[in-house]
Structure formats: C-alpha cells, structure tokens
C-alpha cells in the first residue's frame, strides 16, 4: 500500500517535471534567443568599436564608456530625457488621479468621459505627433491662432522639450487614470462616509484617505511611467527634424541610441548608450524601491 502510494507520487512528480518543461519550452527558447542572448550581446558590443565596411569589430575595453562620459551630446541627451520625465510623469499622475477620483463617483456620463480620456492610448504615437506638430505650427497652427500668440512651440530650444512633454501628458493621462480607477475600486466606501461625518472636506479626504489607501497603485504607476518616460523616442523623432534649431535640446537617450546604431552604423557606441540608459533606469528604480518604504502602505 505505502510503496504503491509512493510510486504514484513519484510518477506524478515525474510527469509534472516532463510536462512543466515541455510547457515552458517554447517561451524559454524564445526568451533566450530574443532577449537573453541579445542582452548579453549588446553589453559585449559596448566594449567593441564597430569596424568599418566589413572589417571586424575591435575590442576597445572601456573606451566607449570613457567616450560616453566625456561626450557632451550624451550628457545633453540625458538631461533632455530627464527634463521630459520630470514634466511628464508628475503632471500626468496628478491630473490622472484627480480625474479618477471624479469618475469614481456615481456621476452621469462616467463611461463616456472614460472612453474619451483613454482614446489617445489606442492611436499610434506617430499619428499623434503629426497632429500635434500641426497644432503647434508657429504660423498657421491652431494654438497660436486661437490665442493670438506667436510661440515657436517646437523650434524654440528653450521650450521645445516641454511642448513635447505636454503631448506625452495628453497621451497618457487616460491610461494612468484607468489604472487609478482600478485601485480606487478597492477602497471601501464607508471610509469616506465616516470622514464626511467628521466634517472632512473633499480635499482632506483625497489627501488623508484616498492617497494613502491607493499608494501601492500610485507607486506602481510612478515606477512604470518613469521607466517609459526615460525611453521617450517616437514623439521626438516625429516632431523634430534635422534642421530644427531645437534639435540638440530635444534629443533623448533612445534617440541617440537609434542615431548611432542605425543611422550612423556605430553599433558599438549605440550599445554603450543603451547600456548607460539601462543603468540610469535601474538606478532610478532602486531609489524608488528604497524610498517607497516612507510613503507606500501595503496591508
């Protein structure tokens, strides 16, 4: 009896082992070929100088990294990327949270508002960028002509990156809002009723009840939005052409990566730029993971 049971268990274990590996095999093979090997290869390439015209690549050790650290264009691109993220992420989060709080109430037209706010999420950034380029046009654009102003939204080097960040905000608030709404649905209504009885106004309710209770969602959206914002490319690629005077002040790190790797065929240097981007993103994420202990409440 006992040996029979043992045998049964071990045959079950055996079949879980076989089927388990068979089931994950396609995914793991794909991940190794498409992601794990490429990651290692990109890091390897960052130690090489790409050979000219069919000549082999040359191992240069840390030279690419030294060059990156002394490359003013890379530092400018990092700074541009950070400027974009600093504007896009907090503003899109705050606006989305306020909208989510409003739509979390039982109001008329809730679904219509939600559908409208989310709309930019299903449109390709390439199309969005084209429309906004036209809205921003300094001579004939809708914005300047409606307000009778003459602002060079995307060709003034001082403001171009912020104009692009505005498009980023416009594109993403609906998405952030949907994530916040999902978080808000888990907040019990009686918390608010109790607070209202105590005379707390809506602002106090937002700061003292809503924000702490959905802090895990806020944290999740914050981390993922920062990662996404640090990879900004499409909008900048579409809006800023080569003869735009704001070119140097809007190039992002991913843009530089694209330029070096695919327009100038300096794959080694492009790989170095993207490894630097990876390290910056990892650093930002780790800092947030440590910082969350101060303000995120899980229970």
């Amino acid at each position: 009896m006992r040996t029979q049971e043992k045998k049964k268990i071990s045959s079950r274990q055996k079949s879980e082992f076989i089927w388990g590996w068979l089931f994950i095999l396609p995914t793991m093979l794909g991940l190794i070929v498409l992601n794990i090997y490429p990651m290692i290869d990109t890091i390897r390439q960052s130690f090489y100088k790409t050979g000219d015209f069919g000549k082999g690549n040359v191992f240069v050790g840390l030279d690419n990294y030294k060059k990156v650290l002394g490359d003013a264009e890379v530092w400018q691109a990092l700074w541009n990327t950070i400027k974009y993220a600093i504007v896009e992420v907090p503003l899109s989060l705050v606006i989305a949270l306020l909208l989510a709080v409003m739509l979390n109430k039982k109001i008329k037209g809730r679904d219509v508002f939600r559908t409208i706010f989310f709309l930019p999420m299903v449109v390709a950034p390439a199309a969005i960028a084209m429309v906004w380029k036209w809205l921003y046009n300094s001579n004939f654009g809708l914005i300047n002509n409606t307000f009778h102003i003459k602002v060079n939204w995307i060709s003034d080097p001082k403001i171009a990156i912020y104009s692009i960040a505005v498009i980023g905000i416009w594109s993403v608030i609906g998405y952030n809002m949907v994530l916040f709404l999902a978080g808000l649905q888990e907040v019990p209504r009686d918390y608010y009723e109790a607070a209202a009885l105590d005379g707390a106004n809506e602002w106090h309710q937002l700061i003292n009840i809503t924000v702490p209770l959905i802090s895990p969602t806020i944290f999740f959206v914050l981390v993922t939005r920062i990662i996404a914002a640090m990879q900004v490319f499409d909008l900048i690629y579409m809006l800023i052409d080569l003869n735009n005077p704001a070119w140097k002040k809007t190039e992002s790190l991913v843009f530089l990566f694209y330029k070096y790797s695919f327009e100038q065929s300096k794959k080694g240097y492009g790989a170095t730029v993207v490894v630097v981007l990876l390290m910056v993103i990892l650093l930002l994420t780790v800092v947030q993971l440590i910082g969350q202990k101060k303000w995120v409440h899980y229970d």
């Binding site: 879980e16 082992f17 089927w19 388990g20 590996w21 089931f23 994950i24 995914t27 793991m28 794909g30 991940l31 190794i32 498409l34 992601n35 794990i36 090997y37 490429p38 990651m39 606006i95 409003m102 109430k105 109001i107 508002f113 939600r114 559908t115 409208i116 989310f118 709309l119 930019p120 999420m121 299903v122 449109v123 390709a124 950034p125 390439a126 084209m130 036209w134 809205l135 416009w170 949907v178 994530l179 999740f220 959206v221 993922t224 640090m230 990879q231 490319f233 499409d234 690629y237 579409m238 052409d241 990566f257 694209y258 790797s261 695919f262 790989a271 993207v274 490894v275 990876l278 994420t285």
Partner: protein, 274 residues
C-alpha cells in the same frame, strides 16, 4: 448648496478635459479635407473646409499603398497575438500550477526580461533578422514578439487565481496533465487571454522603431513607420499628412469604441507595460 457647486465644478473640469482630448482629433479630421491654401490662410482663419476635399483621400492612397500597409500591420498584429497567447498560456500554466526542478530560475528570466528596457535587445535582434535575409518581411515584423514574457506573467497570475480543487477533482478522475490543462484550466482564463491579445495588438500597432529598422521598404512596412516617412516628405502639406494620420487611426478608434469595455479592462489588468 456647497455640494451642488462642487458638482458643477467637477462637470466643468471633466468637460474641459474632454474638449482638450478631442480637439486634436477634430482638427486632424477637419484639416484632412482642406486645401493646402486653406490651411495657410489666417484672415479669416479657416476652421471648417469650405469645400470638403474628398480627393485628398485618393491622393494619399496613391502616394502610399495603405492597403498594403494595413495588411502588413494587421498580419503582424494577428501573428504576434497568436504566438504570444499560445506560448504564454502554456508557460503561464506550468509556472502557476506545476512543480518541477529549475522552475524558479526560469521564472526569474521571465521577470528579468520584463524589467529591462526593450532597446537593449534591438541591435542583436536586427542583426539576426538581417543575417537570415528576412528584413522587409512579415517575419521580421513579428520576430521580437514571438514570445511574451509579460504575457507569461499575466497568464500565470490568472492561473494562480483559479481554485485548487478543480485540478484535484480532474486528477482523481484520471485526467493527465495536458488534458487537465486543455479541457479544464485553459478555458477558464479566457479573459486573461483576451487582455493579452488586446495588449499585444495595441503594442504592435503603436511600435515605431522596430518597423523602421527591420522593414525600411515602403511596401513591407507598417502604418506607424509609413507615417514617419510621409512626415519627412510632406513637411508643409498638412491636409495630406492629416489624411494619412486619419486613415491610419480611424479603424483602430472604431474598434476601440465598439469594444471599449474589453480594451480598458484588458489594459487595466495588464497594466503598466505600454
């Protein structure tokens, strides 16, 4: 009284935001049917085209083979959905419900892929496609999306939420592992599969850099990268540009409005990766 004011303020805010969200789309639509002269006229500023220039549609279709672009884009989306859902369903089930040696290390690789910016994979992926002489093909477009680490994670979550006794009962009835998976467990994760499908479709449709790199040819590329090309060529012809943008986004918007509940819920459950 105070409550009434705050309700009014709320509706005003919601209306203003809605207006801001819609104006770019309305402006794209109106511009798409204007003449270039109308777009450059300031006094009076033209809002609605005096004559709707429907031939703009034909001109743009002639300049860029949009039928072809749509076929490429939809083909890429469909194949990516098929592969991602298929592989992620299998691996998600194994990671959630089976015990086997090496599972944790493999799952760590899945999580690692999810945390790393995609640009780090692009150069070697491109080199592979180009060594296989498969640039400018649908295979090239689909290639990075054949498997989905994120989908594996999403499906694993879905399987973990299913009750344990279902499987126990099946096992006592003598169901083996593939049968239990196929007939009992997989059908219960349909909503997660739909979420992954929608996520995969939107992600593939929006992506610009990969299709520009791997399919630079006008006839082989996707809508997004064709728009990028037109953007460079037609720099001041805004009616044509807006018509091209309109053509490339209207079907997606229509599908979204019809299935908005699935879209929004799908994106909300798959959250954070777009």
């Amino acid at each position: 009284m105070k409550k009434k004011i705050s309700t009014i303020v709320m509706y005003v805010v919601l209306a203003v935001v809605s207006f801001t969200m819609l104006v770019p789309f309305v402006w794209m639509f109106l511009t798409a049917f204007k003449t270039t002269a109308e777009t450059m006229q300031l006094d009076p500023f033209v809002i609605v085209p005096s004559v709707w220039q429907t031939q703009n549609f034909g001109n743009v279709i002639k300049a860029m083979d949009f039928v072809r672009l749509y076929a490429n884009t939809l083909g890429m989306m469909a194949l990516r959905i098929l592969f991602a859902v298929l592989t992620a369903t299998l691996s998600g089930y194994a990671f959630a419900r089976l015990e086997f040696k090496g599972k944790n290390i493999m799952f760590a690789l899945v999580l690692l892929q999810m945390m790393i910016p995609v640009q780090i994979f692009i150069i070697p992926q491109y080199v592979m496609v180009s060594k296989l002489h498969l640039t400018n093909t649908i295979f090239g477009l689909v290639f990075p999306g054949i498997v989905s680490a994120f989908g594996t994670f999403l499906l694993r979550q879905a399987y973990m939420q299913l009750p344990k006794d279902l499987e126990e009962a099946a096992r006592l009835d003598g169901c083996n592992i593939p049968k239990t998976f196929f007939y009992i467990m997989a059908p219960l994760t349909k909503s997660a599969m739909v979420a992954l499908g929608i996520f995969t479709a939107v992600f593939a449709y929006k992506d610009l850099m990969w299709s520009m790199i791997v399919c630079p040819d006008n006839r082989a590329t996707t809508l997004a990268s064709a728009l990028a090309k037109m953007n460079g060529q037609y720099s001041q012809k805004y009616p044509e540009l807006m018509m091209a943008a309109l053509i490339s986004c209207v079907p997606m918007i229509v599908i979204y409005i019809i299935f908005q509940k699935q879209f929004i819920e799908g994106i909300a459950t798959s959250g954070g990766k777009l």
